[in-house]
Amino acid sequence: MTDQDEILKLAKALRAATPEPDGAAKAAALARAMENFDRLQGSADPSRQTSDRPMRAGFWTGIATMLNSLTSRGALAATASVAALAFGVVLTAQYAAPPTGPVIPLSKVTANELAAATTETRTEPSRDTALAATPGDAAKPASPLPPAPPALDDRVVAQAPAEMLAGQDAMAMPIEEAEAQRSARERKQIAEDGTLLLGRADEVDMTTMAPAPMADAPAGGEVVAGLVAPATLVMPDPQMIPEPDTEAYPDFDTNPVKLTAEEPVSTFSIDVDTASYAVIRSSLMGGYLPPPDAVRIEEMVNYFPYDYAAPEADEAPFKASVTVMAAPWNSGKQLVQIGLQGRLPAVAERPPLNLVFLIDTSGSMEDANKLPLLKQSLRLMLGQLRPQDQVAMVVYAGSAGEVLPPTAASDQAAILGALDRLAAGGSTAGAEGLELAYRVAEQMKSDGEVSRILLATDGDFNVGLSDPEGLEAYIAKKRETGTYLSVLGFGRGNLDDATTQALAQAGNGTAAYIDTLQEAQKVLVDQLTGALFPIADDVKIQVEWNPAAVAEWRLIGYETRALEREDFNNDRVDAGEIGAGHTVTAIYEITAPDSPALSVDPLRYGEAAATGAEGELGFLRLRYKEPGEDVSKLLEVPVMPGMGTVGPDQNFAAAIAGFGQLLTDAKYLGDWGWDDAVALALESRGEDPFGYRAEAISMMRLAQTLSAN
């Protein structure tokens, strides 16, 4: 016998002797843990102790007591079938209703956590409806409940049945009942597809947590009604009762194909925001497809850095590179990519910065992915500042206040101290906070310096004097005085994407959505210079297509940035700005007059003979203002066939444009689908030093899986 044999024997025996955990013991332990967790939270925040539903407590205690005390086989079977049915709800509900609820902070959940997720099922809003409705067979195990003794502590009660369900679910019990088998089958089915589950488990929360919208959900109603009943056994935690999802996105229609003969000119403002991409990512990671209105293709494309030629020192502050390539999704069409590269001024020469952090500390910001993430993000950013930069901090919640007077960035202790003291609470008075922030910013400004307000919020501007339009006008007015505004969006649930975007647009700033610390790194550290130093304001793009060479054209994305043709030359019309080192990409899809891919047949009568300069596809005009100037300058570039070199950047941008279209309206893509998008992105991933592109490919795969259902 060798040395190893004894050890192996011991290891084997040790593992064989270890019993499976007992479901009831586990449930009890988990319930204790949650109880203590809540108590601990409660001691820090007295408001958590209150329950707004004391009347119900007795009923739920009854169930808890029953589940805890019954040990007969029948009772175990009954509870197990409840678990099974609760599980059924999960599936049904998520098919039936779109995710309308808020996303809980940590949304990536896998098979192992299904039990836990079931525990999370809180159905308060739908409970009454469900109980009122005839429970049907589904609810039978739950119906003959004994009357309950009064509750001792309704928080325990809240947790116990849920934990119990989870416990039973996880337990290896010999149950022959059909429900139990079904439970196992369904679980297995789910477990086989890990990615799907990402969303599933999470959507337990979202669908069942969704209050009113759930009832309104099309098609969902009837299917859900019967099945929801068992899930109502799970008592909601008062703190987790969700508010209705109030996310708002700007409405727009996808840009259609235009006929050059009828409308040869396309005019739009550039957009350097990237918020949409991060919102999409957060949705996909949460396990559901983003609402189509949240998908702004130009922001997805512009999320990624591209290696366009940079302007020479004596040229305009940015340079346009035009590339013409075959459309990946249709060999009869071409893509014209217009890439703008902003000059990167020598970093050492940058003027001192005056930054005012305007921080939303309203109650809705207390989630882990809001205020705590915001604090971490700003800490990251502080490292990038110079001693001569100045930082001030204004918070708003109920009332607005200056929590950090203008302080030199070198005084890290004071800044970090002020950051640490931030705590969420109260409602939002955004307008008041904003006015204060502008006052502080103006105090800080001296000649030649850049002042910028960084507004960090979850978009909750609902208390206060101003409506979003009034705020927007106010910000636009302040922009004229040289103080810019950027918006950092945090968290989901009441993210007001439309307002966020509008405010940043009015403030000549960027809107970014920060969902992870990595995103904070990208926005606030890697791209800090671009985000804070405008090199060209009011950048507008106008392309005139040559009817002789282009019969049809379509601008991909930029729907929310469209300008009237006459706005192009009107310097009073606001447009986007380019920051130092920014790249901006716009993609057109064009169709030649003789292409078989034309979507509109030529007119039989009366079509004017196409006239235009031979050889040119179109003519690109760009207008921009130097920062602080009132009069715009003009750049002109003719678009020639076969212009530019098609490299990984162009292909990747095309893949992302395809990705965006697949997420919204893929009607122009024909048979080109997710596999093609992934393949194109994969082969054009290029160097990808920050891993942004690799992440995008993961997103595509996830979206593909999610859209397959």
Binding site: A13, L14, K26, A29, R32, N36, L40, L106, N112, A368
Partner: protein, 180 residues
């Protein structure tokens, strides 16, 4: 990267009061805690008590979570400490050689064919002093590397390696005795 939120991320969120993160973390790791507790105590009832104590203490323990180790390492450490406390408490009321000894006694009259492995295990574990038993529970039970075990126990890797060789030596003695 997409499959599962890292334990460490969940722990940090839970430490900051994220209830859902805490619930997921618990559901994910209860079984692990229970199994280690069993391998340390050798008694189901003790293991369940221990696991429950650990769960109950976890919310406040998490306040001390600094995110400087892997969550499982941290959790093993918490479990080991709790087991040590339990042992100390038991030592005051019963005999010092608690744990696997009791288990073995309780099993004595149930020994039938097929239980041979368990009987042998109990005997072997009883013959090991507590520190070697702990090491065995982590290295053989949890299949940690010696480096990970050292981290959990706060020892050097060399000490863990030495302990395992000591375990081997003692097992050999047990086997030799059996062979007699």
């Amino acid at each position: 990267m997409l499959m599962e939120t890292a334990d460490e991320t969940l722990a940090t969120a839970a430490a900051q009061g994220d209830r859902a993160a805490f619930a997921i973390l618990l559901a994910r790791h209860y079984d692990r805690v229970f199994r280690l507790a069993f391998r340390l105590t050798g008694r189901r009832a003790d293991a369940e008590d221990l696991a429950q104590d650990i769960c109950a203490a976890l919310p406040s323990k998490l306040r001390g979570w600094r995110g400087d180790a892997r969550f499982t390492t941290w959790l093993y450490r918490v479990t080991m400490n709790a087991a040590e406390d339990l042992r100390r408490r038991q030592a005051t009321r019963t005999r010092a050689a608690s744990g696997w000894g009791d288990w073995e006694i309780a099993r004595q009259d149930e020994i039938v064919e097929g239980r041979e492995a368990e009987r042998w295990l109990a005997e072997a574990m009883t013959k090991l002093p507590p520190d070697l038993r702990d090491t065995v529970a982590l290295v053989l039970g949890e299949e940690l590397t010696q480096g990970e075990t050292a981290q959990v126990l706060g020892l050097s890797e060399g000490t863990v390696a030495w302990r395992m060789s000591e375990v081997k030596r003692r097992l050999k003695a047990v086997l030799a005795e059996e062979a007699k």
